[in-house]
């Protein structure tokens, strides 16, 4: 029968879909059939295929070196796969993944995500087997200065948002006269819809540890902290396992791989505040204080954790470092653009066919990401804009679809790289409502320390609420722009300085939508409920009665073969009928 390996997706998505049961069923079914096969926990974990995690549980059957991938696997389906495919050699065609699974991966350049989903994240030997900890060995054979120079030469920039040069940050920190230094891995991924750090931590935790040890060595630190949010229990669990294994394997602790270098890593769990992703707030949180940022300068590289020089790097940044050490700065800098090197993971979400995590070289045109990898908007709808950079970013209108995605281009258009969120919006998205949504997030997550962010963003939000509520006034748009600009230049930390971005960029590119809300009393995307009339269109109604059944206030009259009628007096404008109607017959 030859060599057989079965890989079951055990990522967060897989686990939620019942992959534990599938894994158990495979083990028992195979042993009862007397088949010797390796059953591996596969951490696909949305890695590059969130759309397919929607089709979880995903199972790979590797038989004689040929991989076959199944989707939607439940414990009941296991016996047939074992009998027909594993023993009989004939794959069960109707459960195989479709062509979109393969198309999705072709355009990507996977460096960080390459091993996620391929190796067992809870097994250090699997990581070593694919070249893991080679970068560390190489780094330790060099001087810290040489390591910093290598990373500088690679052009690697921080993947957490601001895009500061990693090698330069290390150099600034190592220039400090203080001999006690720290390195912190920022795994407080807080942007709504972003899960790239989580994927790396859950899928390949050793790569992050290795990057941290190299970083620690480069700045001559002997202690590192991973600040990870408590909402990522699987990531924490796998990190704990990885740290323990690395300590046993002499990659952590005293005298790492007999180089004489000591380094220890501890995990600090965050309590869920978005602002703790800001480095000074994160440091305050590790110190046991309330997570509130402080003004920079002085920067953490000079005065960070417990007033010692500290480097704070993002998960993705650190996971990239071992690859740079192994393959060389020249290799890394050959990927990407002039100023933005390497690849970046994006969380592609929103109104797009193939949602998921994608890793692409920086500088890839937005069009390729949206259409070639993402498969375009669903149901033949028209692309309207792409929001990048999470709640602090801005939107890129469809007219700029050919722009390259890199740090500079995104900054020029009023958006930012951020942690790599990418929300695709089509013509059913109201841009005012979208700006309001993001602002409601940042407004709630403001730490309250500085006034412009705490009160200013609240006031911005209130004006947006007024506009979407049908009570917009002439002059509101200019009021928003002025206030937003003032908040940007006077706020203390990155949260306040970027929170008004969604408002400013939607006004810049979709001012007409704001004007339509205020002056014409309509929401062009038909999203804002205040503008809906809730009457049934005579021409569009198909007499199906769905709205009648959905209405919680019994405001809709309907009988078989009769058009529905909404009683305005009873209607509470809840919108249930509108959402239920498949024919958009409710106006």
């Amino acid at each position: 029968m030859g060599d057989i390996t079965i890989r079951v997706c055990m990522g967060t998505g897989g686990l939620a879909a019942g992959s534990s049961e599938v894994l158990r069923e495979f083990s028992s079914r195979l042993s009862s059939r007397g088949v010797r096969a390796g059953v591996v926990k596969k951490c696909v974990n949305k890695t590059g295929c969130r759309g397919f995690c929607a089709k979880d549980v995903l199972v790979d059957v590797i038989r004689n070196g040929i991989r076959t991938t199944y989707q939607f696997i439940t414990p009941e389906k296991v016996s047939r796969i074992v009998d027909d495919h594993v023993i009989g050699g004939a794959p069960v065609d109707e459960w195989l993944v479709g062509p979109e699974y393969h198309a999705f991966h072709e355009k990507q350049t996977k460096i960080l995500l390459k091993q996620c989903g391929e190796i067992d994240p809870e097994d250090i030997d699997a990581y070593i087997g694919v070249g893991g900890y080679e970068g560390l060995k190489k780094a330790l054979s060099l001087s810290p200065f040489e390591v910093r120079e290598e990373v500088k030469a690679s052009g690697l920039r921080g993947r957490g948002g601001a895009g500061f040069h990693t090698g330069l940050k290390w150099e600034l920190c190592s220039m400090s006269p203080d001999k006690v230094r720290y390195i912190i891995c920022n795994a407080d991924e807080g942007d709504p819809g972003a899960f790239m750090d989580r994927a790396v931590l859950e899928g390949n935790p050793h790569s992050v540890l290795e990057g941290m040890i190299i970083g620690g060595y480069a700045i001559r630190a002997h202690e590192g902290f991973i600040y990870v949010r408590a909402e990522y229990p699987l990531a924490i669990q796998r990190l704990e396992i990885a740290i323990e294994q690395a300590e046993r394997g002499a990659f952590l602790g005293k005298d790492i791989v007999r180089s004489g270098y000591d380094f220890a890593i501890s995990i600090k769990k965050g309590a869920g505040a978005f602002v703790c992703g800001e480095e000074t707030a994160l440091i305050a949180s590790i110190e046991g204080k309330r997570g509130m940022p402080r003004s920079k300068p002085p920067f953490p590289v000079n005065r960070g954790l417990w007033n010692r020089p500290t480097v704070v790097n993002n998960v993705e940044t650190l996971a990239t470092v071992p690859q740079i050490m192994t393959r060389g700065a020249a290799w890394f800098s050959s990927i990407g653009t002039d100023k933005s090197k390497g690849t970046k993971i994006f969380a592609l979400t929103g109104k797009i066919k193939n949602t998921g995590l994608i890793e692409v070289p920086l500088g890839m045109p937005l069009r390729e990401i949206v259409y070639d990898i993402g498969g375009g908007c669903g149901r033949n709808r028209k692309l309207k804009a792409v929001q990048t950079g999470g709640p602090s970013g801005g939107c890129i209108p469809a007219s700029h679809i050919d722009m390259p995605v890199d740090y500079e281009s995104l900054g020029d258009i009023g958006s930012m790289m951020g942690s790599g969120g990418m929300v695709v919006m089509e013509d059913t998205t109201c841009m005012v409502d979208m700006a309001k949504f993001f602002l409601s997030f940042t407004r709630n997550e403001s730490c309250g320390k500085c006034l412009p962010c705490r009160v200013g963003n609240m006031r911005l939000y209130e004006v947006l609420e007024r506009i979407t509520g049908g009570k917009g006034r002439a002059g509101d748009i200019d009021f928003l722009v002025d206030l937003a600009e003032d908040i940007k230049i006077s706020s203390l930390c990155g949260l306040g300085q970027t929170a008004p971005n969604p408002v400013l960029s939607t006004i810049r590119f979709f001012r007409d939508e704001y004007e339509a809300h205020i002056h014409e009393g309509i929401c062009p995307a038909r999203v804002c409920k205040a503008f809906r009339r809730y009457v049934v269109s005579d021409t569009l109604c198909t007499m199906c009665g769905k709205c009648f059944r959905e209405c919680p206030s019994r405001a809709i009259a309907w009988e078989k073969k009769q058009k529905a009628f909404i009683d305005v007096k009873k209607c509470t404008k809840c919108g249930m009928c509108y959402d239920a109607c498949q024919f958009r017959a409710i106006l």
Binding site: M292, S295, C447, G448, V455, E462
Partner: protein, 354 residues
């Protein structure tokens, strides 16, 4: 220490300052005014209110003068159209979540927010959004907390942890609803509050006020009498706030050489005895079981007679004096002098070092 001096330019004028100075310190030293709100000389710089924002050449956003350290060659601008616009905006935003009830506010006349509103000519009415509507907190026997008047500058929190080291209050809530409060919002009397009133002394608005002084008079009616606290040997400077011959409140003298405005519960709130009806106003002489009021002459004659008797019988070394740290230095000096020259004894001490 020549290398510790740094040259910077403030509004185009070259200024020499110390390494480690903030822009604010440097500007204050040469008399360039920069408005502040969350700053208190007793506390670590905070950078929360952003009012002290200034422009620094080659930096695109504004920097808070209070937290930004000076750097050689730095060029600072403290007044510009942008800076004024931002300061107006900030004060206006503050007022947009403030009751603006100055006419019956305890703090009127010495309120930092009121001064700023006057200086920048704004009232925050252009926003018209949500305002806090929180109940007044009266559980603390000495301090009244009106959260609605709080501008969340954090000075009370910082003085409680940095100076008093009590940590009774900290930030509670997030975003717009962030405000200082006790742990689990419990009444202050149930927390570890020391009732020192330091938070009141630093509060720039009427959010924290002295309960005992409330309604007893406005700032312009008070006569401020600078004096030394009589409770212990530290000798803190304080102001008695006197209205119509009655002490109604004690406030901090921030230039006090010993205490820089810091006071404890006794100095700030222990002034009831001044006008107490139970206060002893004449010497009392014990006769039999009870005390009887006497004149000073009678009393002093009796004391002198008895001291003489003791000295005659047991010698000079048998008497001495122990003076109180509640007395002033001058009084203590006089007592020592008296014991040495009149008693001819060296038995003299004071409780201040205990």
């Amino acid at each position: 220490m020549a290398q510790r001096k740094i040259k910077i330019k403030i509004n185009g004028v070259e200024t020499v300052c110390e390494k480690g100075d903030s822009i604010l310190t440097a500007a204050q030293r040469v008399g360039v005014p920069i408005p502040t709100l969350c700053h208190d000389d007793r506390l670590e710089p905070y950078g929360g209110c952003r009012l002290c924002s200034v422009e620094v050449k080659h930096i695109h956003r504004l920097l808070p003068a209070c937290t930004t350290p000076v750097k050689p060659g730095m060029e600072v601008i403290t007044e510009s159209a942008t800076i004024t616009r931002i300061r107006k905006r900030l004060v206006s935003l503050m007022l947009s979540n403030h009751p603006n009830d100055c006419m019956h506010c305890e703090k009127a006349g010495e309120c930092r927010l009121q001064d700023l509103a006057y200086e920048f000519g704004v009232d925050g009415s252009e926003y018209g959004g949500e305002r806090w509507d929180l109940p007044i907190r009266e559980a603390n026997p000495f301090i009244t907390y009106e959260p609605n008047k709080c501008v969340t500058c954090g000075r009370c929190i910082r003085i409680c942890s940095e100076v008093v080291m009590a940590g009774t209050i900290d930030w509670v809530g997030k975003g717009f609803y962030t405000l200082p409060d006790t742990a689990f919002r419990r009444p202050r009397s149930l927390s570890n509050c020391e009732f020192c009133g330091q938070c009141v002394s630093t509060c720039p608005t009427g959010a924290l006020t002295d309960k005992k002084g409330r309604g007893k008079g406005r700032v312009n009616e008070m006569q401020r009498v600078r004096t030394t606290c009589g409770y212990c040997g530290t000798g803190c400077t304080l102001y008695l706030n006197v209205k119509g011959g009655t002490v109604v409140k004690v406030t901090s003298a921030f230039d006090g050489p010993v205490n820089q405005g810091n006071l404890c519960i006794k100095g700030r709130y222990g002034y009831d005895f001044i006008h107490s009806a139970e206060r002893i106003r004449a010497p009392l002489i014990r006769k039999g079981d009870g005390f009887h009021e006497a004149t000073w002459d009678e009393a002093l004659d009796l004391v002198a007679k008895n001291f003489r008797k003791v000295i005659k019988k047991h010698g000079n070394k048998s008497v001495g004096a122990f003076s109180s740290s509640r007395c002033t230095n001058e009084e203590n000096f006089l007592l020592a002098k008296f014991v040495r020259t009149v008693f001819r004894s060296n038995n003299v001490d004071n409780c201040a070092r205990v």
